[in-house]
């Protein structure tokens, strides 16, 4: 094993050290997953009475999934078709969750010592253990940041957290990626004890020896979801507005927000194993969405890649073009008679922040039913996406990653992963066809940049 070392002491406690070679932080790659099966096999050996898992990294326990690897897997899963392939995809993408459940139900006590960065799939590993000790003063950072990159925690967090603290308290951790405070973690049994590094290990070892029959609370026969499920008085009072409130932030276009809510709602009403199966299906569903790919690329890959570059592009003129185009389009909508309120709202949800277009008083008011509103929103996004593609053609911006990250950081809607990401979400061919319709209706400002057409002809993506 490259990523784990195992040391079985005289009492039969396996000390497992998670330490991915050549990296400053542990991540969960396909290789880590395969080796995890080896750990499970060791745990099953009769001479082993239990295990303590810890990290060999100074910075923390584990940062979660190996996202570049996950992204390339996503491309593969996205292309899958037919029941057989899809079933294989669900099994593959759900493998971390399945391994963690095996750990949790192996029949032997497993404790974990966490410190520093303990996020995403790393936190999910800790949650699948029976006893969790945090190292004091270790800059502990527990969070599930998946939602921020368009993904959902697919390693059981949508099931274990509500089963620990109830739906209402778990919601902001899962739906906003809110950092879990040590105080909340202790109150909710996400962490059982906090102590200095050397005593933490000994405490975990002792706990393992003293609890030979360890089980997760939800595997006890008398287990009840804290504060009741969604169809309880508490659920109606709190879960319903909790759903509504999520339209304030990302909104329903976000690739994983709705799916996380569905994991909470559906998973909390069934036994743990069924809940995990439900989560795995929604995880797979999310991973296949182009929005998830666009967001993960921009909010993770672009951010990481660009942070390593000594020199970043100057995006001022690029962003200026986007703003100008958006403002021009909003003005056109006002001139067509759409109300100030509508255009201002569209500007907020579908554009970089712009100056206020001039109110138009003499235009005849145009009625706006929902399909019209949707089409206006789309038109505003298209105007900016086309501008971004033109800037790329003209060299006003060089790197598509810069173009996307720069735009979303300046306020372009996050769920698109950026204006170029939006083109990919629409699908290049579909985007071009729709842009041509806009060009017919609204003129040359929707004309297609040559580069886009060339990419279509050459079968290339924008980020290829």
């Amino acid at each position: 094993m490259k990523n784990f070392s195992i040391n079985i002491d005289q009492d039969g406690v396996a000390l497992i050290t998670f330490d991915v070679p050549g990296k400053s932080m542990n991540v969960i790659s396909d290789e880590v997953q395969t080796e995890f099966d080896g750990l499970l096999a060791t745990l099953r050996e009769p001479r082993v009475r239990g295990a303590v898992i810890r990290s060999g990294k100074a910075g923390g326990f584990c940062a979660g999934a190996d996202l570049p690897e996950l992204l390339s897997n996503m491309t593969r899963w996205c292309a899958m078709q037919g029941d057989e392939e899809l079933a294989r995809g669900v099994a593959e993408s759900g493998s971390w969750s399945r391994r963690l459940r095996e750990l949790e139900t192996c029949g032997k006590p497993v404790a974990v010592v966490i410190h520093g960065v303990t996020v995403g799939g790393g936190l999910e590993l800790a949650l699948a253990c029976h006893y969790r000790v945090a190292v004091a003063d270790s800059k502990l950072r527990m969070a599930l940041p998946e939602v921020g990159v368009g993904l959902l925690p697919g390693g059981g967090a949508t099931q274990r957290l509500p089963r620990l603290v109830g739906l209402r308290r778990a919601a902001p951790w899962l739906l906003e990626g809110e950092v879990i405070s040590l105080e909340d973690a202790l109150a909710g049994d996400l962490i059982h004890a906090v102590m200095a590094a050397d005593s933490a290990l000994e405490d975990a070892r002792r706990w393992v020896l003293e609890h030979p029959e360890a089980k997760a609370p939800w595997d006890e026969p008398d287990y009840r979801l804290p504060h009741g499920g969604p169809h309880s008085p508490e659920g109606y009072r709190h879960f319903a507005p909790l759903i509504a409130a999520r339209h304030n932030g990302f909104g329903s276009e976000h690739p994983s927000l709705g799916n996380i809510l569905k994991c909470l709602y559906e998973g909390s009403q069934v036994p743990m194993d069924a809940g995990l199966r439900i989560e795995a299906r929604y995880f797979f569903n999310t991973l296949r969405k182009p929005q998830a790919r666009a967001m993960a690329r921009t909010f993770f890959i672009a951010r990481q890649t660009l942070a390593r570059r000594p020199v970043r592009e100057d995006l001022e003129s690029y962003l200026g073009v986007l703003q100008e185009v958006s403002e021009q389009e909003q003005q056109a909508m006002l001139n067509e008679g759409y109300s100030d309120t509508l255009v201002a709202s569209l500007g907020r949800v579908a554009s970089l922040p712009t100056g206020c277009p001039q109110p138009v008083t003499d235009a005849e008011a145009s009625p706006a039913d929902l399909p019209v509103v949707e089409q206006l929103k789309r038109r505003l996004l298209y105007a900016q996406a086309l501008a971004a593609a033109r800037c790329l053609d003209a060299g006003i911006v060089q790197d598509p990653l810069e173009a996307d990250l720069g735009a979303v950081e300046a306020g372009f809607p996050a769920w698109t992963g950026g204006p170029l990401g939006y083109i990919e979400i629409e699908g290049l061919a579909n985007f071009i066809a729709q842009a041509q319709r806009f060009e017919q209706d609204h003129g040359a400002r929707f004309a297609l940049p040559a580069g886009l057409l060339r990419r279509l002809e050459e079968g290339q993506g924008l980020h290829a």
Binding site: Y338, S345, A368
Partner: protein, 401 residues
Amino acid sequence: MTTAYIFDAVRTPRGRGRPNGALHEVTALSLASQVLQALRDRNQLDTALVDDVILGCVMPVGEQGSDIARIAALVAGYDQQVPGVQINRFCASGLEACNMAAGKVASGEARFVIAGGVESMSRVALGADGGAMLVDPSFAFDHYYAPQGIGADLIATLDGFTREDVDSYAVQSQQRAAMAWSEGRFARSVVPVRDQAGLVLLDHDEHMRPQTTVDSLAALKPAFVGLGELGYDRLAQARYPQAGPINHVHHGGNSSGVVDGAAAVLIGSREAGEALGLKPRAKIIGMASIGSEPTIMLTGPALVTRKVLKKLGMTLSDIDLFELNEAFASVVLRYQRELELDPAQLNVNGGAIAMGHPLGATGAMILGTALDELERSDRQTALINLCVGAGMGTATVIERV
């Protein structure tokens, strides 16, 4: 197809839907069986000829659960052969029951059907039946669910109805209802509710406040501000970006009242009526339901009105009287404006703002109200309709014979 006729319609008076309401002391089952008995007794109906009892009930849990229609028929002393079915199309359940009854008669399945509804809102609380609509994200998140009070305020916001507009409508409802009661316009339909000893418990609509003025309503605080702040305002604006900030204008005084009550309508074929010597009062000439945008939820009435008239080859001018359930003042104001109706043709005897809205029963109640009014004012046609939860509308067109 056989034509479905209306032979009679009865309703209970509406009691305040609270523990201090007069009808709180009787069960929903008792309310339902009392209207069934009244309909039987005053028509000397051989109940063995009733092929079904269809009752609307919107909170069919607790004492209103387990198919209250069948249980009520048995408790009312109907022939054992009379089956019963409870249905739920939210606020239009009572009217939908009538439409289904007409369908059963038209198809030849039934000779007589009794249609109606029951709701004891003081005993089975609003929301007691739960449901996916509120909490399942597959609907609530993906389709922007908002409670109906938010939809009502959203209509006011989009249409620019002010607080004074909706309050003025509420005052009109109170005045019309008071006048209708004082002139005895409901006398034919209202049957008093009797208590366990057989004494009259309530013989008038208890929720009314005839002294209401626009000034007195001005003192009431808008009811849905809190819901809006929970996130529903932002959700409504996300769905309707043209709306701007939601103008919360509705409160208890310009929304339908929470009340207890039941209603029943005797529907059958001409032949069935003739066999018993019953004279039909009207025929059901058209019926329809439709879905509408669910977030705003309450805009089905104009759509279903157009749908049913188109089906009948009729126009708005062919209808003498319009009855639209007063769920919220803005619902009626939008209907009136969108269809350009003369206010003198719409809800002429007031409605649920004044008298209350016993959810499952209201549709059958206002069908009876419209029928009574056609006879009183000697007019021919009425269109009865309601806005419905989750974005629907249900309508019935009747014509006197």
